[in-house]
């Protein structure tokens, strides 16, 4: 098919081209068009005047970031702390769980346990938060038990000091099981002859884990860490919005809730859009940077060069 003109190719592929139209139109409208809406980061946007007629303000909306407005800094700090906790605690959990599951000898038992552990991933945040209230709230399972045994009660749900632990626990409950699916798949692809050969050489289980299993998971771990890094400034928005009332903004405000509370609820559109824009750009730089780093370490990363 050497000498086809461009027009011939369009005619040949017309069905394929036509098929992409609805999906591409939706993506352009709802994923690309919004980027134009970011112009209000440089304006004093008033909903009743409209985007076009609202006055330009230059970089004034970015002052909260540059000058370090306390509410903004609080949101940034909380975001980074939650991200750090998620990388340190939530990220390794499914790897450990996958190793445990993988060592189960009975296929049927393994499948049953998997079905149970995957399930919470498919529940909404509203449901998960409601479930945690039933378990750990003042009238919940734990406190009823403590009360019955005259042990006093613990305040978890509405306690700002416990918020980080609560949020981390909820993410673990919801997604640690589901996240094993990728690690289990990677484990099943490790060449079993490696284990056999190492067993002949007298390798202990720990040495097998260190020298065969973990290296087999390395590419996947790097890939998932890159994706997580790109989302470093995004932490469970729905999860946190649902629980802010109970613990207050000091403990729970993160960048996304700051943008929502400050912009859409309080009407400070320009500043919120500015924070959202900077957050999006930093996230993009983080993904690209992490990917470059992965290439340097000889891994594939998210995309290839």
């Amino acid at each position: 098919m050497s000498r086809l003109t461009w027009w011939d190719r369009v005619r040949r592929d017309r069905i394929l081209l036509l098929a992409t139209v609805p999906g591409v139109a939706l993506l352009l409208t709802f994923h690309y068009l919004p980027w134009l809406g970011n112009v209000i980061a440089f304006k004093d946007y008033q909903p009743f005047i409209g985007i076009f007629d609202s006055p330009w303000t230059g970089l004034r909306n970015f002052q909260v970031i540059v000058n370090g407005d306390p509410a903004f800094l609080n949101a940034l700090t909380n975001t980074l702390i939650i991200t750090l906790l998620q990388v340190l605690i939530v990220f390794p959990a499914p790897i450990a769980l996958a190793l445990l599951l993988d060592s189960l000898m009975s296929e049927r038992l393994k499948r049953t346990v998997q079905s149970i552990l995957y399930l919470p991933h498919f529940l909404s945040w509203v449901i998960v938060v409601a479930i945690f209230m039933q378990l750990l709230g003042d009238g919940g399972l734990l406190n009823n038990f403590l009360r019955e045994h005259d042990l006093g009660t613990v305040s978890i749900i509405s306690n700002p000091d416990a918020f980080l632990a609560l949020v981390t626990g909820q993410v673990l409950w919801k997604d640690a099981g589901w996240a094993t699916i990728l690690f289990l798949a990677a484990l099943s692809r490790i060449d079993t002859t490696l284990y056999e050969a190492s067993a002949v050489d007298g390798a202990s289980r720990w040495r097998q884990l260190w020298h065969i299993t973990l290296p087999g998971l390395r590419s996947l771990i790097v890939l998932l860490l890159i994706l997580r890094l790109g989302d470093a400034l995004t932490v469970g928005f729905e999860q946190i919005v649902l629980q802010q009332q109970a613990v207050g903004a000091d403990a729970s405000e993160v960048l996304d809730t700051y943008v929502y509370n400050n912009g859409i609820l309080a009407g400070d559109w320009g500043v919120s859009a500015a924070v959202g824009l900077v957050k999006g750009l930093v996230g993009l730089l983080l993904v690209l940077g992490a990917n470059k780093l992965a290439h340097r370490f000889g891994e594939q990363g998210v995309y290839q060069r």
Binding site: A19, L28, T29, L117, L119, S124, I131, Q134, I264, V287
Partner: protein, 298 residues
């Protein structure tokens, strides 16, 4: 030489280690299962027992369906459930159509304009637009307070497109080529060859979409000011998380003795979980296939 027996080269763990693993996994399963049991039990329990057990019942002595009768007799919860069902069915249908077509259109790398079109999908994966710009687009299209606002912005998920495209590209070329020799056009190839071969992955992607629509909470909070249009997740937030008292006015069951608040709350919670539980077992066995292809191909 290793003194312990091995299976496929993996040294078998000692008995205490195996027991410990069993205990850990059993505990993980219990942490997931026990709350479900408690929620269902509380929704079925009587007022006396709920009071006696402090609000959360692990196993009901006596079973009463009064809470379910109350929420399903035509009030706020019934309406919200219908809204959620409608958005889920309409949204999933639209999403599947657009996703299948887009994935098919991108499944032949030699086709015209393939690369720029693929880039549009890939970049959508990397940049998520912010809350405020998205809100402005939905608002300027006049979609505020319509169900379209819950569907159109999330109708095409770039990740699902990539998974499905990768799957279509893995299908044996010979089958498609021989169909073409027999005179099948691109439309016939999609409907008669590709889709029948892709049932498993389509089921998984369909579940992903349906669950996303059913579970959506924030888009409704953001785009729907009219509380009469609220889906079940927002009603759940109002009455279960924010603990707003639910009364006869909201339930539309005038003249009936009101079941205890706790039972009603848990019945709403069960109602919001049941559809997921019903569909889940049928799709669950296909997960590995559906998710894996996406992971391998990235």
């Amino acid at each position: 030489m290793s003194s312990r027996p091995t299976i496929a080269g993996v040294t078998v763990a000692s008995r205490p280690v195996r027991a410990l693993k069993g205990v850990i996994l059993a505990a993980c399963c219990a942490v997931v299962v026990v709350p479900f049991v408690g929620i269902v039990s509380t929704s079925l329990a009587t007022r006396e027992q709920i009071t006696r057990d402090g609000g959360f019942v692990l196993l009901p002595d006596e079973v009463s369906f009064a809470a379910y009768q109350a929420i399903l007799s035509g009030g706020v919860v019934t309406r919200a459930t219908l809204v959620s069902l409608f958005v889920t069915v309409a949204g999933t249908t639209l999403s599947m159509a657009a996703t299948i077509l887009l994935a098919y259109g991108l499944s032949r790398p030699r086709s015209v304009a393939h690369r720029p079109l693929l880039m549009i999908v890939l970049f959508a994966l990397l940049f998520t637009p912010g809350i405020i710009p998205s809100y402005l687009v939905v608002k300027s299209l006049g979609l505020l307070d319509t169900y379209w606002a819950l569907i159109l912005p999330v109708a095409v998920n770039a990740f699902n497109v990539i998974i499905l495209r990768a799957f279509f590209m893995e299908l044996p070329k010979e089958v498609i080529e021989s169909a073409r020799i027999d005179g099948a056009g691109d439309v016939a190839i999609l409907f008669r060859i590709i889709l029948p071969l892709s049932k498993a992955v389509l089921a998984v992607i369909g579940l992903f979409y349906a669950v996303a629509y059913w579970n959506a909470f924030f888009s409704a909070l953001l785009y729907l000011n009219d509380t009469a249009k609220w889906p079940l997740q927002l009603v759940l937030r109002t009455y279960v998380i924010n603990q707003t008292q639910i009364g006869v006015d909201q339930l539309g069951a005038a003249g009936v003795a009101l079941p205890p608040q706790e039972a009603i709350q848990m019945a709403i919670l069960v109602l919001s979980i049941v559809p997921v539980l019903v569909v889940y077992p049928f799709v669950q066995r296909h997960f590995t296939k559906g998710v894996l292809i996406g992971a391998v191909k990235g």
